[in-house]
C-alpha cells in the first residue's frame, strides 16, 4: 500500500533556492567591487539648496508712511533680486524678510528686535527720524548695521547706521541759498512749515541758523502732527505772514491735505511756491497733479534725470514692478545702499558687522543712477547731489537746478551744532556743547 502523499510534492527541477542564493551572493560581491565605478555621480537627484542669508527690510507698508515707504521696500527687493540673479553674495542667496511696522515707532522697535534675533545680516529700513531713533539702540545692542536711505536732519551719527539720504548741508542749506539767489527768485521771506517730529524741527533749526548768517529770519514757523490733513489754518497763517516762499518739511500723506488747502486758498505757485523736502515722484502718484503743478521740491535725484544709467535703472525696475511705477530720491539712495553693502561684504569676505564696517574705511564708491556716490567712512554718510525740480502735470519734475558735483556730508553743521563732529575711522563722535533745537536762534 502506498504511503500517504506528502503535503508538498517534490518541486520540479530548475534553479534551486540554494543555487539562486549563491548566485545572488556572487552578484552582490561583484557589485560591491564594481559599484564605485558604476555608480559614480549617482544620487537621489535632490538639487542642492542654495545657502541663504536673511536680510531685513523694515519699511512701513500700512499706516500714514506707507505712501512713501512701500516704494523703498520694492526697490530694496529689486536690488536683492538683482544680486541673487547675479549669483548671490559670497555664494549665498539673500532672503528678504519684510515685516510691517505699520508706521508706529513702538512696532519698529519690536520688528527690528524680531529681525535681529532672527539672524539677519543687515537691515535696510525706516523712513521717519522718529522710527530710526527708536530702533538705533536695538541695532547698537545687537551690533548689526541699519542702512537708512531717507534724507534726514543730521545731528546724529551711529556706529551701526549707514546713512544714504542727504543731511541739511546737502539739502536744506543749499535750498535756502538757491531761494535767495536770483535763479531761485531772490526770496527773502521764507515760511517754515513741517510735520511735528524730529526731522522737520531739526531741519528748520538748521534753516533758521543758516538764515541768521544771512541776517534773515523766517517769515513764520508752523508744525502739524504727522498724519494731520487739515492745513487750512496753516495756509491762512502763511498768507497772513506775506511770505514769498514756503520751505516744507511736511511728511507722508499729510502732503495731500497741504496741497488741497493751498488749492482751496487759490495760492499761485508762481507767487508763493512751496519747496518741499519730502515730496518725490512716488508721493505725487497719490496727489492731484493740478494741485501740485508748479511747486518745487529739492532732492538729489529725480526720475527725469536724462542719463543712460538712469534710464537703464528705471527700465529694470519697471520690468519687474510694472511700467507705471516711478522712481525717486529715497529709492535711488535705497538701491545704492544695498549695493554699497554688497560691495562692503565682498570686500570683507564675510557678513560679520565689524569686518563689513572695516571695509568702509577706505571709502566705497558706486556709480548710482543719479550719479557717482561715495560712502564717507568718517561719518558713514553718502555724498549727494543737490537738485531742484519743478512739478509737472505728468507728476514728474523739470530739473531747474543741479549742483556741479556731489556735496560731502556734514551731519553736524557748525552753524547749528558748534563743536560737534564725528570720525568713525578714529574715535567716533566728538561732543560739543548741548544744543536745544527749540532754543532761540
Amino acid at each position: 500500500m502506498p504511503g500517504p502523499a506528502s503535503p508538498n510534492p517534490p518541486r520540479p527541477t530548475g534553479l534551486s533556492r540554494r543555487r539562486a542564493v549563491a548566485r545572488a551572493a556572487a552578484t552582490c560581491a561583484a557589485a560591491r567591487v564594481l559599484a564605485p565605478g558604476l555608480f559614480v555621480g549617482c544620487s537621489l537627484g535632490i538639487p542642492p539648496r542654495a545657502k541663504t542669508v536673511p536680510v531685513g527690510l523694515l519699511h512701513s507698508q500700512t499706516g500714514t508712511m506707507a505712501i512713501s515707504a512701500t516704494a523703498l521696500r520694492d526697490i530694496d527687493l529689486h536690488a536683492i533680486e538683482q544680486i541673487n540673479a547675479g549669483g548671490g553674495l559670497l555664494g549665498c542667496q539673500l532672503e528678504a524678510r519684510a515685516p510691517d511696522p505699520r508706521s508706529r515707532p513702538d512696532l519698529f522697535v519690536k520688528r527690528a528686535q524680531q529681525l535681529l534675533e532672527g539672524g539677519v545680516a543687515a537691515v535696510f529700513g525706516c523712513w521717519t527720524s522718529t522710527s530710526r531713533k527708536a530702533v538705533l539702540p536695538v541695532f547698537e545692542e545687537h551690533k548689526k548695521l541699519l542702512f537708512y536711505a531717507v534724507p534726514y536732519e543730521g545731528n546724529e551719527s551711529s556706529k551701526y547706521c549707514v546713512y544714504g539720504g542727504g543731511v541739511p548741508n546737502q539739502q536744506i542749506t543749499p535750498a535756502i541759498d538757491w531761494l535767495l539767489s536770483p535763479n531761485g527768485g531772490s526770496k527773502k521771506k521764507i515760511f517754515l512749515l513741517g510735520s511735528d517730529y524730529v526731522f522737520p524741527r531739526t531741519a528748520n533749526f538748521v534753516a533758521k541758523k543758516h538764515l541768521a548768517t544771512k541776517n534773515l529770519r523766517p517769515a513764520g514757523e508752523v508744525y502739524l502732527p504727522l498724519g494731520d490733513r487739515d492745513f487750512s489754518a496753516a495756509v491762512q497763517q502763511i498768507l497772513f505772514s506775506k511770505a514769498d516762499c514756503v520751505l516744507s518739511t511736511v511728511n507722508g500723506d499729510s502732503n495731500l491735505g497741504l496741497f488741497q488747502a493751498l488749492t482751496d486758498a487759490k495760492v499761485d505757485p508762481e507767487k508763493l511756491p512751496v519747496i518741499s523736502t519730502s515730496i518725490a515722484e512716488d508721493e505725487l502718484r497719490s496727489m492731484m497733479p493740478q494741485q501740485v503743478r508748479g511747486h518745487l521740491a529739492v532732492s538729489s535725484y529725480f526720475q527725469s534725470l536724462d542719463t543712460a544709467a538712469n534710464r537703464e535703472w528705471i527700465n529694470g525696475f519697471r520690468r519687474e514692478f510694472g511700467s507705471d511705477r516711478v522712481t525717486d530720491d529715497p529709492m535711488e539712495s535705497g538701491w545704492c545702499l544695498v549695493h554699497l553693502w554688497k560691495a562692503a561684504v565682498e570686500k570683507a569676505g564675510t557678513f560679520e558687522t565689524e569686518a563689513v564696517r572695516q571695509a568702509f574705511v577706505d571709502g566705497l564708491e558706486l556709480a548710482g543712477p543719479g550719479g557717482p556716490v561715495r560712502l564717507d567712512p568718517k561719518t558713514q554718510h553718502c555724498t549727494k547731489y543737490f537738485r531742484v525740480g519743478r512739478i509737472r502735470l505728468d507728476r514728474q519734475f523739470d530739473i531747474i537746478h543741479s549742483s556741479d558735483a556731489p556735496i560731502e556730508p556734514d551731519p553736524y553743521p557748525q552753524i547749528a551744532f558748534p563743536g560737534w563732529s564725528c570720525d568713525w575711522t578714529k574715535g567716533g563722535i566728538t561732543r560739543g556743547p548741548e544744543v536745544s533745537i527749540d532754543g532761540d536762534i
Binding site: 503535503p7 542564493v21 537627484g45 535632490i46 506707507a66 512701500t70 497719490s286 492731484m288 519687474e320 514692478f321
Partner: protein, 264 residues
C-alpha cells in the same frame, strides 16, 4: 506627515517613483532570501498551504485595496480642492482689479498697483515658500495695505457708492479664498493613515512570502506585486502635499493674471 519628510519632494518625480518601486521590490526580495526560510516551516506541513495562503491574501487584499483606493481618492480630492481655492482666489483678484480700475484717479492707479504687488509677491515669494510647506506671511501685509487703501476712498456719487460696495464684497471673497489657500498649504494625510497603509503593505508582502513556488517564480511574481505597491505609495506620497511634487498646484492662475495686469 511632519515637514521633516519634505526633502522627499525635492527628489525628481521619475526618480522618486523608481525609488519607491525599488524600495518595495528590494524589501520583497530581501525578505524572500532572509526571512522566508524561517517563515516557510510554519505552513510546510499544512495540506494545500498555497490555497489557504491565497484565500487569506485575497481576503486581505480586498480590504487593503479598498483602503489604498480611498486614500488615493482623498489625496487627489485634497489637491483638487486646494487647486480650486487657488483658481477662485485668482478669479476674485482679477474681478477686484477690474472693479478698482473704474475708480477715479489717483485711487485707481494706487489700488491697481497694490493688487499687482500682491500678485507678484504670491508668484515670486509665496509659492516657493508653500512648496517648502511654509505658510507665507507677508501676503497678509499686502492684502491689509490694499484693504486700508480701499477704505480711504470716499465715494462721491451714487455710481461710485455701488462700485465701492461691490469692490468691498469682492475683497471679502478674495480674502476668504486666500485664507483657504493658506490653510491647504499644510493639509496632508494624517500620520495614522500612513502607518495603516505601510503596515498593510508589509502584511501583503509577508503573506506572499508564505507561498510555495520556485525561487525564480517567487522573485518574478512577488516583484510585480511589490513594484505595484511601490507605485501606489509613490502616487499617494506625490498627491499628499497640494503644493509639492508632480501632482501639485502651480502658480499658473496668478501668472496669467499678472501678465494681463502688466499688459495694461
Amino acid at each position: 506627515m511632519s515637514t521633516d519628510w519634505f526633502w522627499i519632494y525635492d527628489i525628481p518625480t521619475a526618480r522618486l517613483a523608481l525609488l519607491s518601486i525599488a524600495l518595495f521590490v528590494g524589501v520583497y526580495w530581501s525578505g524572500l532570501i532572509l526571512v522566508r526560510p524561517f517563515l516557510r516551516p510554519l505552513v510546510r506541513n499544512i495540506r494545500a498551504a498555497n490555497d489557504i495562503v491565497g484565500y487569506i491574501l485575497s481576503c486581505f487584499c480586498v480590504f487593503y485595496g479598498l483602503l489604498l483606493g480611498l486614500i488615493a481618492v482623498t489625496a487627489y480630492q485634497n489637491v483638487s480642492e486646494a487647486g480650486s481655492n487657488v483658481t477662485r482666489e485668482a478669479a476674485a483678484l482679477s474681478a477686484l482689479y477690474e472693479d478698482v480700475s473704474r475708480y477715479p484717479e489717483p485711487h485707481a492707479q494706487n489700488l491697481r498697483w497694490l493688487l499687482r504687488d500682491y500678485t507678484r509677491y504670491v508668484i515670486k515669494y509665496a509659492w516657493p515658500l508653500q512648496q517648502r510647506g511654509v505658510i507665507p506671511q507677508e501676503g497678509t501685509i499686502r492684502a491689509e495695505a490694499f484693504h486700508d487703501k480701499l477704505l480711504d476712498f470716499q465715494p462721491q456719487t451714487p455710481a461710485q457708492e455701488i462700485l465701492h460696495a461691490e469692490a468691498l464684497r469682492q475683497l471679502n471673497h478674495f480674502l476668504e479664498c486666500r485664507r483657504m489657500r493658506l490653510f491647504s498649504v499644510k493639509s496632508a494625510l494624517p500620520a495614522s493613515m500612513w502607518y495603516v497603509m505601510l503596515l498593510g503593505a508589509f502584511f501583503t508582502i509577508l503573506l506572499c512570502w508564505l507561498f510555495d513556488m520556485t525561487f525564480v517564480a517567487h522573485l518574478a511574481l512577488g516583484g510585480v506585486l511589490a513594484s505595484y505597491l511601490g507605485t501606489m505609495m509613490y502616487l499617494i506620497v506625490d498627491m499628499n502635499q497640494p503644493f509639492r511634487g508632480d501632482v501639485s498646484i502651480t502658480a499658473e492662475a496668478f501668472e496669467t493674471l499678472y501678465a494681463r495686469m502688466n499688459e495694461e
